[in-house]
């Protein structure tokens, strides 16, 4: 494909196909907010530091202020709007934990925090407090002092564990890995 200043993008956002032709320099966060009206994803620092713009790209948390909409062409994006159950509107366990632990004050960083913690729990279903704090390296909150955010992450992890075992991939990997480990150690 020849280089062009306007590029067509087709992506799946929160399960729905979306298409538009945008200037090549359009950032994913602006595409989500300005073209699709999904303003739950926030622009904070705009310099890849604060994490307020965190979304899941193909299921992995990334900073949407540092991804071009063109780079997301053909991929799947989940924003904060796509987390709650589409069937009954019930909150995602991480959202629910933020409400239960009051993991916010002004709320500006919250969508990014929720998206980052969703990723943490997927990677580490039973995180320690230290792991939670380390995983939030890329998300800045200027009000809470992080205490209730960390509490919310830990509560969400235990709620997720109660609901269902970890994601099938992680569970399958562990099941596949354990007999071999046992053989080797035994």
């Amino acid at each position: 494909m020849p280089a062009a200043r306007e590029v067509p993008v087709q992506l799946t956002v929160n399960g729905a196909p979306r298409a538009a032709t945008v200037p090549a320099r359009t950032l994913l966060v602006h595409f989500l907010r300005d073209h699709l009206g999904l303003t739950g994803t926030h622009v904070g620092c705009d310099t890849t530091q604060c994490g307020a713009c965190t979304v899941a790209l193909d299921g992995v948390a990334v900073k949407s202020c540092t991804v071009l909409a063109a780079q997301a062409d053909g991929h799947e994006v989940t924003t904060i709007e796509g987390l709650a159950s589409q069937a009954d509107g019930s909150l995602h366990p991480v959202q629910q934990a933020f409400q239960d632990e009051h993991g916010l004050q002004c709320g500006y960083c919250t969508p990014g925090m929720v998206m980052a913690i969703r990723q943490l729990i997927e990677d580490h279903p039973d995180p320690t407090e230290e792991q939670v704090r380390h995983a939030l390296d890329g998300n800045i909150c200027r009000c809470t002092g992080y205490q209730n955010i960390v509490a919310a992450a830990l509560r969400a992890a235990s709620a997720t564990a109660l609901r269902a075992p970890a994601s099938p991939t992680a569970a399958a990997l562990r099941a596949a890995a354990s007999p071999t480990a046992a053989e080797r150690e035994g």
Binding site: R25, G51, T66, L68, D137, G138, R184
Partner: protein
């Protein structure tokens, strides 16, 4: 905040990417390759970079994102990593993190890799999880940032780069067609190999020509158990004010003389030390003067401290320091001090990790 206007093209193959680079140059336009974009896009948003053409290589199958292949080079086990591998993919790579390795066929029993702790260290403290999900190993090397973490570890692991370009364009280093494809017509892509040490030149300056693409990075994976990466991060940017990678290999093996007498060479002394420093100089560098003090030596506290004290020296026996950088965050002297302290810590950590009998 958004980048200056540019034209965007997505390459589907290495051939197409090289064509797009050629087209841009034929029109006298500045072109940049983009993979993860975690260094380039922030620079473009700040208008520190304003390429006219952006060529997206993130989908190139030949650059093996996340893939790796074990091989033997120079008598040592090594791993070849695709340039498009993200930090996140690398941190989940069993060969590097000591996880379970499965062979491609059932003749290879699943086994736990030795792992390279220095790689695990650096991937845990580099940028943040979201950035690590997109940033690539090829991108960080090509960027040439004096304050980048991973190149220090790669330098200590004697990394070598494979670089593709149009065949014959760089004849002095041309190594033949690439990629190899059986039964296909001869490729017009050539490749060359260069050590990372020769590749890095200065601040945002590397040996990469405008018509070249880094495709793979090979690192030593044998005997890298005694390794560590220590950094002093800037609290906001997470960039290293100073960072030090250490890889130690111990003497090993046995010698049998003509009378059948066996000498165990694994006496606990260091066969070879690799120390690489980043964040304090125009480019990450190998601290050869410090390494020289450790090669063949027993790792006593005095020897380790003496070696660390040499970490900013330009060469053995010299009283000249490497070129040092300072800025509003930390002076050159302070960074040099950090490098010495971090070298001591990284050496202690590497030694505590064992690996004497590998």
């Amino acid at each position: 905040m958004f980048p200056a206007d540019f034209a965007y093209a997505r390459a589907r193959t290495l051939d197409e990417a090289l064509d797009l680079l050629d087209e841009a140059h034929a029109e006298d336009k500045e072109a940049k390759l983009i993979a993860g974009g975690q260094s380039l896009l922030p620079m473009m948003k700040l208008r520190l970079a304003a390429p006219e053409v952006l060529i997206d290589i993130a989908g190139l199958p030949d650059l093996g994102g996340g893939g790796w292949m074990g091989s033997v080079a120079g008598g040592h086990l090594s791993a070849t990593l695709g340039a498009l591998s993200t930090y996140r993919q690398l941190s989940r790579n069993s060969l590097l993190n000591g996880g379970l390795i499965r062979g491609r066929d059932e003749n290879v029993a699943p086994h736990r890799g030795e792992g390279i702790p220095a790689v695990t260290d650096v991937l845990a403290v580099l940028a943040d999880p979201q950035v690590r999900a997109r940033g690539t190993i090829g991108g960080t090397v090509a960027h040439g940032d004096p304050a980048s973490d991973l190149p220090a570890v790669l330098l200590a692991l004697d990394a070598e780069l494979t670089i593709a370009s149009r065949k014959g364009r760089h004849p002095e280093t041309h190594l033949g067609p690439y990629p190899r494809r059986a039964g296909k017509e001869p490729s017009t892509i050539g490749k060359r190999e260069i050590t990372l040490d020769d590749f890095l030149q200065g601040i945002y300056t590397t040996d990469l020509a405008e018509d070249e693409i880094i495709t793979h990075i090979r690192i030593t994976t044998q005997g890298a158990r005694a390794s560590a990466y220590e950094k002093f991060p800037h609290p906001a940017s997470h960039l290293p004010l100073a960072g030090v990678a250490v890889v130690l290999t111990y003497k090993s093996g046995r010698l049998t003389d003509e009378n059948g007498r066996v000498t165990d060479l694994a006496d606990g002394s260091i066969a070879q030390a690799a120390i690489a420093v980043t964040g304090i100089s125009p480019r990450p560098y190998r601290a050869r003067a410090a390494e020289a003090l450790l090669n063949g030596a027993f790792p006593t506290p005095e020897t380790l401290a003496a070696a660390a004290a040499q970490v900013t020296m330009a060469s053995t026996g010299s009283s000249d320091r490497v070129s040092l950088l300072g800025d509003q965050h930390a002076s050159a002297d302070y960074r040099a001090h950090l490098a010495e302290v971090l070298t001591r810590r990284a050496l202690a950590k590497a030694i505590a990790r064992g690996g004497r009998n590998s």
